[in-house]
């Protein structure tokens, strides 16, 4: 029987949004899906060897804040220097304490499970990104190559 196929487009480059593509791709692989992730625009940050992903509370009213900060912290306070770094550190600590995998770990699991990771060549050129900064095993292609796989996929997600 032909395996089912999952095609994902990953467009976001923040710590919180790094999770959905890697969680879904690794799980789909465990279920027997053939899986590809196409990384474009800010999603390319997820392919860097050294990840420096952060999470921002700005423009994100749904983000649960630690210690009731949302009650006494004015929105402007969230723009203070260092605030994003602090929120990122808190989020990482929280994830670790809850047994949530790191992005690196999930990405490794995806590669182990032969999830195909494809970088958008156009965005790499647009942002003058150095492909030496990306992990090994990444392929470079464009929109047409994505459709070749996505057109035959059972599930296609834009994240």
């Amino acid at each position: 029987m032909e395996p089912k196929k999952l095609a994902i487009i990953a467009t976001k480059g923040s710590l919180d949004w790094a999770y959905p593509p890697f969680i879904l791709a690794s799980t789909a692989s465990a279920l027997g899906y053939e899986t590809q992730i196409f990384f474009t625009f800010y999603g390319l940050q997820l392919l860097k060897k050294k990840l420096s992903l952060e999470v921002t509370p700005l423009g994100n009213p749904g983000m649960p804040m630690p210690m009731g900060m949302d009650k006494w912290f004015p929105v402007l306070g969230l723009t203070l220097p260092g605030m994003q770094g602090m929120m990122t550190a808190m989020m990482k600590k929280k994830m670790q304490s809850k047994g949530v995998a790191s992005v690196e770990e999930l990405r490794d699991l995806c590669q182990e499970a032969e999830v195909k990771l494809i970088a958008c060549q156009m965005t790499v050129d647009l942002f003058d990104m150095n492909t030496a900064d990306f992990i090994d095993g990444v392929e470079y292609a464009g929109a047409a190559a994505f459709f070749q796989f996505a057109g035959e996929s059972d599930i296609c997600l834009y994240i």
């Binding site: 690794s26 799980t27 279920l31 027997g32 047994g99």
Partner: protein, 76 residues
């Protein structure tokens, strides 16, 4: 709990790690062997059921005991 060939302690791990670890462990086992998974993630109850249905491995037993979730999976 029935006999099993291998045990995987996924306590403290959150979605999707228990499933991924189980899959990896099953890969190294032979057909007909039974894996006992222990997990603390409440979501794993539905997840292991779905995992079994989609991969063809049989979920022989799924129960909660002492605040932990136990699964017996027979490799197809």
């Amino acid at each position: 709990m029935a006999d099993f060939d291998q045990e995987l302690d996924a306590s403290g791990l959150n979605c999707p790690l228990p499933i991924l670890r189980a899959k990896k462990t099953l890969n190294a086992m032979t057909s007909g062997q039974v894996l006992h998974v222990v997990a603390t993630d409440p979501g794993s109850v539905k997840d292991f059921d779905a995992f079994a249905k989609q991969t063809g491995n049989e979920l022989m037993e799924s129960k909660e005991e002492g605040g932990k979730f136990h699964f017996l999976i027979k490799k197809s």
